[in-house]
């Protein structure tokens, strides 16, 4: 059986559409019959990464690869990059502006939540070039 590939584009700065991709993927995973917990973990991790692309980068591309054993999601943006990934992974660390915080984001919980919700997480980032985050959620971890 071939893996199923889904591709999405995330538009920058449009908060009304933030979460749209993770919502679509959540529905797809439910339709496919993935266990509720797998769907939920994927949706939560994806939501955080998608929002980060909207807030901190200039949007980007999300690629989802699905097979019965593992869901792999790659978030690729060509935003500013993350200067200190060790720091960024800490709970509560955020560079979000006042304006963004007023909208309810910027608690510095996104990346730690992605880590918590997924079984594997890899961050490749280069200043001025962009960030690529890969996560995996296993059906039977």
């Amino acid at each position: 059986m071939e893996d199923l590939h889904l591709e999405f584009t995330v538009v920058p700065d449009d908060f009304t559409r933030a979460g749209e991709v993770s919502g679509k993927v959540k529905k797809t995973l439910k339709d496919l019959g993935f266990p509720p917990l797998v769907v939920r973990r994927t949706a939560i991790a994806m939501y955080e990464a998608e929002i980060n692309m909207v807030i901190h980068a200039n949007g980007g591309k999300i690629t989802v690869t699905i097979n019965p054993d593992v869901i792999t999601v790659v978030f690729a943006d060509s935003g500013p990059g993350i200067p200190d990934i060790g720091l960024a992974m800490q709970e509560g660390w955020s560079t979000a502006s006042e304006e963004i915080r007023d909208m309810g984001f910027g608690a510095g919980m996104g990346l730690p939540n992605i880590k918590k919700s997924s079984d594997y997480m890899d961050v490749q980032t280069e200043l001025g070039v962009g960030t690529t985050i890969t996560i995996k959620i296993f059906t039977n971890p």
Binding site: L4, K26, D31, L32, P36, A43, Y47, I66
Partner: protein
């Protein structure tokens, strides 16, 4: 799910195949095939939205009629709190309505609002002792429970595992009636007066598992004319009311939260709002609350599709009646040991595209491939609610591409293009037209 376990049905004679319901069904459960709508039973949650929107009144709720009273020696009417808002001029004494129920044939009446009020006290207690599964989600609306079981299974642990006020009250009333009359249980009939088909389905489902104390469900709209006449004839109302005002408030969205006196709560009504809240809760985007009350109908049960009065007018009347009612339930003996479900609620996988994960993934690849050939307008002319739904139907063999008017048009253009025009020129007439359309 078995066809018999649904209450929303279609009248083929009246259906014009207009697709109004197809687009409005929150479960994408309706298709138009051969000029008539059909309901896919596995997907339907009996929310009644299709009954509400059908301009030809071709969708019906299959519920009981007053004839069922003949089946029992002793009958108890269990009026849903929403019944109280249906009658013009009744703003202070609901005993008039309760007495009229007896006059149209019931042996006695027992208010569901009394059961609701007892449940509220228990809900309050339950929430105080809950820690892990907060917020607790109300389970009074069967439509909401059905959609959670099908679309939001990860939220099942949040469901309040209490019987609905209808079931709870039926048990209570039956127990009292048995003590009073000495009759065996099967001779006592509990008849719920319902605002919606969903409650009727809930009874059918529970009876199937032998767990319902409700013997029949009659629509508010069914007894309304008779009851209205009987109300006008009541001279001295009997004192039949037992519940306090909080129980009556359950008829209206937000009333359950109020009755349970839970300050950190959230209530939402109408299917679209309900779905949004469930999505948000599942995504952990909601502020933390202790209790969530959800009603499928706009305004709460006063908005049920089997009610008669406009929900906002009904709400106003109920507020008046509540002011004229004691703040608490009469201290009757309440069987509080009887509140928990007999069985836990389980995930209903009816929406899965295939029961096998690998097959589902292959099938979805096929669906997406078909969908890429459809025009993406979601026009509904094919009788499916969206291009994606048609693609799924085609992939599963329930429909063909020829149902898409755009595909048919393309095929037609292809065919015509191969022939000479009547005037002898070689120009493909239809293709030319399409071309100029594109330019426009």
């Amino acid at each position: 799910m078995n066809d018999k376990l649904h209450s929303v049905k279609l009248d083929k004679e009246l259906c014009k195949g207009c697709t109004t319901c197809v687009k409005r069904c929150p479960m994408e459960a309706i298709r138009v095939r051969d000029k008539h709508a059909i309901i896919i039973n596995e997907r339907c949650i009996d929310c009644g939205e299709c009954i509400r929107v059908c301009p030809h009144h071709a969708k019906k709720a299959v519920v009981d009629t007053l004839d069922v009273l003949k089946n029992f020696e002793y009958t108890i009417a269990l009026p849903a709190p929403s019944l109280y808002g249906q009658f013009k001029g009744i703003l202070s004494d609901r005993n008039v309505i309760l007495t009229a129920l007896k006059h149209i044939g019931f042996s006695t009446v027992f208010e569901v609002s009394a059961g609701a009020e007892a449940i509220s006290t228990l809900t309050n207690r339950e929430i105080r002792k809950s820690k892990e599964n907060l917020p607790i989600i109300s389970t009074a609306c069967p439509t909401v429970v059905r959609i959670i079981r099908m679309r939001f299974p990860s939220l099942i642990p949040h469901l309040l595992d209490f019987r609905s006020p209808m079931e709870f009250t039926a048990r209570w009333a039956k127990r009292l009636a048995q003590e009073e009359t000495g009759l065996p249980l099967e001779k006592i009939g509990c008849i719920f007066i319902s605002p919606c088909p969903a409650k009727a389905t809930a009874v059918k489902l529970a009876s199937n598992a032998d767990h319902s104390a409700v013997d029949a469900v009659i629509a508010i709209s069914e007894i309304y004319p008779k009851l209205r006449t009987a109300i006008k004839r009541v001279i001295v109302p009997e004192d039949l009311a037992v519940s306090g005002s909080p129980g009556m408030g359950w008829a209206v969205s937000g009333g359950e939260c109020k009755a349970a006196a839970i300050s950190d709560n959230l209530s939402a009504d109408g299917m679209e709002n309900v779905i949004n809240i469930l999505e948000a809760l599942e995504n952990e985007e909601l502020p933390s609350v202790d209790f969530i009350e959800l009603n499928a109908c706009v305004g709460g049960c006063v908005g049920g599709v089997l009610t008669v009065e406009n929900p906002f007018i009904a709400r106003g009347r109920i507020k008046h009646l509540m002011k004229a009612t004691a703040p608490v339930l009469r201290p009757d003996q309440c069987p509080i040991d009887d509140v928990n479900w007999d069985h836990s609620v389980e995930f209903d996988p009816s929406l899965r595209i295939d029961s096998n994960l690998s097959d589902a993934i292959s099938l979805l690849a096929k669906i997406r491939d078909i969908e890429s050939r459809l025009n993406g307008m979601d026009c509904g002319a094919c009788g499916a609610p969206s291009c994606h739904a048609l693609a799924e139907d085609i992939a599963k063999g329930f429909a063909t591409e020829d149902q898409c008017i755009f595909i048919v048009r393309e095929k037609l253009q292809g065919l015509l293009g191969q022939h000479e025009n009547p005037d002898g020129t070689a120009e493909p007439a239809v293709a030319k037209e399409a071309e100029s359309e594109e330019q426009a």
